[in-house]
Amino acid sequence: MENFFDLVPLVVFVPLVGLLINLFTGKHLGERGVGIVAVGASGIAFLISLLLWLAQVDTGYKPVVVDLPLFSDWISIPAAGVEIPWQFRVDTLSVTMMMAVTFVGTVIHLYAVGYMHGDERFPRFFVYMNLFLVFMLILVTGNNFLMMFVGWEGVGLCSYLLIGFWFDKPGGVGWKNSDAARKAFIVNRVGDFGLVLGVLITFWTFGTLDFYKPDELPMAAHHAAEAAEEPVFAPEIPHEAEPHIEGPMGVFNQAEVWLEEGGHDVNFGMFSLSFESTITVITLLFLLGATGKSAQIPLFVWLPDAMAGPTPVSALIHAATMVTAGVYMMVRSNVFYHASDAASFVVALIGATTAIVAGFIAVGQWDIKRVLAYSTISQLGFMVAAVGVGAYAAAMFHLVTHAFFKALLFLGSGSVIHGMEHGHHHVAHGGHDHDDEFDPQDMRYMGGLRHKMPRTYWTYLFGTLALAGIIPFAGFWSKDEILLDALKAGVDDARLEGYLAFVLLVMAAAFTAFYMWRQMALVFYGKPRHAAAEHAEESSNLMVYPLIVLAFFSLVIGVINVPSGFPILGAIFGEHEFTSWLEHAVTYAHAASFNVLLASFAVVLALVAIYVARAIYNDRALETLGQQDPLELDERTEGLFAVAKAKLYWDDAYFKYLIFPYRRAAYWLAEQLDWRFWHDYVHKTVIQKNFHIATEFLTQPVDKGIIDRGFNSLGRLMQIIAQRIRVIQTGYVRTYAWTVLLGTLLVVFIILFPVIRGMLGL
């Protein structure tokens, strides 16, 4: 199965072909054809990922680097020692990402065929979606930071295009959508700046951007290979440098060797830093990149607005895959993060704080998708915090499980919105008054949908329980592992950030359960609070079946990484299979053993939070629900709710302290500096006037007098000469023959000239 690895370029090419087909023939294919092409491309990519997975299992999880034919010298400047090939990396980490992206992608593509039905730009939507897959897969399969960056920027572009997909909706909605798209793009730019800088410093430090060179193994993977028989939990970190790796090394192994040797300095021209500090700088810059793409403090503000895009986009890009790119990137760079305690501290705090802040804000939102958006931010915070406390495997595990249940929740919310719109349509056509206030995403208008949309309800319930971390749903396993790892980092390694992260994350978990049940109650329970909800209908099968598939996986996907020591399940599914699998690519992945106390605590906490939510949003409260939340009516929680509703004033603060001053400065500069000083004074008075004088001089006497006249005479001369020569072109063959003869004699004479001269003794 070795040669299966050569298939990996197809993972990128198949969606590319799909998008090209839809791009050029989409208009003629019709919705059905476009859908088949797009879903097919995504599905084939998934099948290829599956084959790659099998091949990985078959070959003992050996990381493989595959060259792309024709492209292998992507950037090659031999004189400057710059060699950045276009190579794909197949290892357990990239295969994990590929499988998650393509599987969730396929399901969401399928769903989108139903969701986008009737949209006037149907083909274009799927072109963008496939383009997104192309870039996302480049991001996760690249073997160097630059390829990753290409994918990183590409998915950013797709995100922008898709958030603003409905840029032309009437009534100012279009403006809002395109504003959201721009916001996402610009905020991400701040993060990307950090990433680029990090990549450049990496290149400066290591002279290469390859993660690992072909045939090079991650250092710790040597150990894993030796102990292939028994899975290694917490593999021994190689404390001896391993100089037996010959030839050029990728960045990570170089870093290992240099760290081991110690005492290296990196020279930046004007100053130099110790190697350890350089790593810290790089990792912090990478973190800045991750805060942009993975929506962490302080750059998370774009993600809630990004919900302006069509719901499948929210599900695929802004929940399941693209936003996890930052987490993937940090896990990929685990060697760096492991080496830098300072950076790990910052990462853990950023992640945990984001988790709690976003969880808090989510409580105060009315828009069904906004709640989920903040929830996504919060869950990404969990993953980032996991990276910070060194639980790289747990971060990836949560990434995978989250992809399933968050995609499920988003698609479920899409189904709800669809149902509400359908109901509203029904009402509007039924002769009732058409109220413009109505918003199909506002939970205040919903209620009682449990009976109207039973299948959506049940799948949504599954997603909610998974997100809340109720055993045995997927979220329980991964969240529990993160909590455990955080606690262990505190207790075992005496790391402050471990304790801090643990406390914050536990609180965030409680908030998660609370706001999710609030949402369940507002959407599905009670009685319909609006005519639209009254007439809502279950969505089409094309939309519901993907929900069921995802619900199934949200229930069971957790078993891929049962912690050690867990009764029964551990014996059936094997213990921390996923961690052992990742260990072959992620050097510092390690597994945690099961802790009954902590797990029970987490579950009980979630259940309590649900109970509290159930108590607050009880049937009576739901029935009398007007424009205000029960929390708002109670004076004890009134203030807190207002803060959450206002998103902690985070966006407002940005406006007040960044954007307004920026604008004022820009106005001032434009008015005073650019217009008054630069334009009026420098341009008009200084430059223009003097320029006039100079040009006047150059045109009149110099150009017209000398140059023009010179060239005109030259031109006339040429014409005269040409006319002269032309005369011999008589048109008579005899003349031509004579010239040929004369020419021949001339040629012969010239060629013989040296000999004749020699003979004559000249």
């Binding site: 040429m718 020569i725 032309r726 031509y736 040629v747 010239i750």
Partner: protein, 504 residues
């Protein structure tokens, strides 16, 4: 005992692209008899198919994907199948394919749709291919005739139109006249060396005693007369006078093809005879071949005369005729530079690169003329370009590309060709002639850019028609011109391994 040589003795496979084409031409000649007059597109398609097969074979051979036959020599050293041959084949086959494309509608609307057009085209193409592969003086001459005779017929293809017939007559008479010089020259070379095989000539020249004046005399005269005969084919001054008359009179589709193909054949043979056969022919322990001086003098004269007279032309076909003379001069620089053994390979490659670039550009330019030409062969004056940009923006853009390329503006193929040729000239210390080349290029901008000016800035009807195959040809030519201009390494990579040296 005499034994009939077998196919493998002859090593026919090595000559596969040319053999396929020649045999194909013979077969189509018979097939065409059964194709009714109104369905000649069948013959056209067959011809295009034959050319494509041959082109694919030549490309495979050029890129070393497949090696045909056993070794580089076939037919007992008469045919040389090396990279040079492959590249020449590719150039002429591309030209020929474009030639078929531009011809089809043109023949239809001018009522010349006769099958012989296509197989005559195939025969002359085969002639060019054999010229490029010649390993023997006899092959040079036979191939030259195979190239020329169908061209004489094609020139007069528009019978009974007087102009066309007249030009065919002129071409034929002068062609025969110059062929005689070539034969005479080849005979003298044979006399001096005692062999007609190029490899043996090379060896004989090598061992020629320095003071053997009579042999030198014969060889020099022979080389000079060969230069005359082949110089006539490529339209070098002073053997160029037929060119404008013939180009003006002949059907434009024929001109599009022959202006490139005849040059390719002529230069290929010239390189074979001079650069492969007698690069070591030096007088008095000189450092450059004896034929170099006269070659660069011809080059200089050709560039100057061609460019100067082109300025005053008012007919597009005549203008491009003088332009083609001028370009022969640029290519001759490359041939002259090959006279210095140190730069022989570089110069040879430069010539081929130039020809490749020229093929796309020049066929393209003539295709545009075909598009504007009326059925009665009128409207080929310069004024027909007026206002073309408004009525036919794409066509005008393509023409602009061709004109820029002929001028040698960077980012077009023409620049790449000139660059390599001038580079070779400088490497061979032919700095004066390189300077003349650059100056005359500047001069040529005058008349090339005037056409661009007329298309874009002057008012006129700008009538033109671009039916399907013609449009393809213009598109392919324009894309080729731009692609090679933007990615010059495509050309230089293609030519990188070409060498003409025997025993090298």
């Amino acid at each position: 005992m005499f034994q009939v040589p077998s196919l493998s003795d002859l090593n026919v496979a090595a000559a596969l692209p040319a053999v396929v084409l020649a045999l194909g031409a013979c077969v189509f000649l018979v097939v065409d008899l059964f194709v009714p007059r109104e369905r000649k597109h069948i013959t056209a398609w067959l011809t295009a198919g034959g050319l494509s097969v041959s082109l694919v074979l030549a490309l495979l051979s050029l890129t070393d994907v497949v090696t045909f036959g056993d070794g580089e020599e076939a037919f007992f050293g008469m045919y040389i199948a090396d990279q040079f041959t492959d590249m020449v084949n590719v150039i002429v086959l591309v030209t020929s394919l474009l030639g078929v494309m531009v011809a089809y509608n043109y023949l239809d609307r001018t009522n010349m749709q006769r099958g012989e057009y296509y197989y005559l085209l195939l025969f002359t193409t085969a002639g060019v291919m054999f010229m490029g592969a010649a390993g023997d003086l006899v092959v040079v001459f036979v191939a030259l005739e195979l190239l020329s005779i169908p061209l004489y017929i094609l020139t007069g293809f528009r019978r009974p139109q007087e102009q066309s017939e007249e030009s065919a007559m002129k071409y034929f008479l002068l062609g025969a006249f110059s062929s005689a010089f070539l034969v005479y020259g080849l005979a003298l070379v044979y006399g001096a060396t005692g062999t007609s095989n190029l490899r043996e000539i090379w060896q004989a020249v090598d061992s020629m005693v320095a003071g053997d004046t009579s042999a030198q005399f014969l060889l020099l005269t022979g080389a000079g007369l060969s230069l005359v005969g082949l110089g006539f084919k490529v339209a070098a001054v002073p053997f160029h006078m037929w060119t404008p008359d013939v180009y003006q009179g002949a059907p434009t589709s024929v001109v599009a093809y022959m202006s490139v193909a005849a040059k390719v054949g002529g230069f290929a043979a010239l390189l074979r005879v001079l650069v492969a056969g007698m690069p070591n022919f030096m007088l008095d322990n000189g450092t450059s071949a004896a034929w170099m001086d006269v070659t660069w003098l011809l080059a200089a004269a050709t560039m100057i005369v061609g460019n100067f007279i082109a300025i005053v032309q008012s007919d597009l076909k005549r203008l491009l005729a003088y332009s083609s003379i001028a370009h022969a001069g640029y290519i001759l620089i490359g041939v002259a530079a090959a006279g210095v053994p140190r730069v022989a390979d570089e110069a040879t490659q430069a010539v081929l690169i130039y020809l490749m670039a020229y093929a796309f550009t020049n066929v393209g330019a003539f295709s545009v003329i075909i598009a504007v030409e009326r059925d009665d062969a009128s409207n080929t004056g310069l004024s027909s370009m007026r206002g073309l940009a408004r009525t036919q923006p794409l066509l005008a853009a393509a023409m602009a590309v061709f004109m820029l390329s002929l001028t040698g503006i960077p980012l077009t193929a023409g620049f790449v060709g000139k660059w390599f040729v001038f580079k070779a000239a400088i490497a061979a210390d032919l700095i004066p002639v390189a300077v003349i080349g650059v100056l005359t290029s500047v001069l040529s901008a005058y008349y090339y850019l005037r056409i661009v000016w007329m298309m874009y800035f002057e008012d006129g009807d700008g009538e033109a028609a671009t039916p399907r195959p013609l449009a393809w040809a213009i598109g392919i030519s324009a894309i080729g011109t731009l692609v090679f201009g933007f990615l010059p390494y495509l050309l230089s990579d293609m030519a990188r391994e070409i060498t003409l040296a025997f025993g090298g």
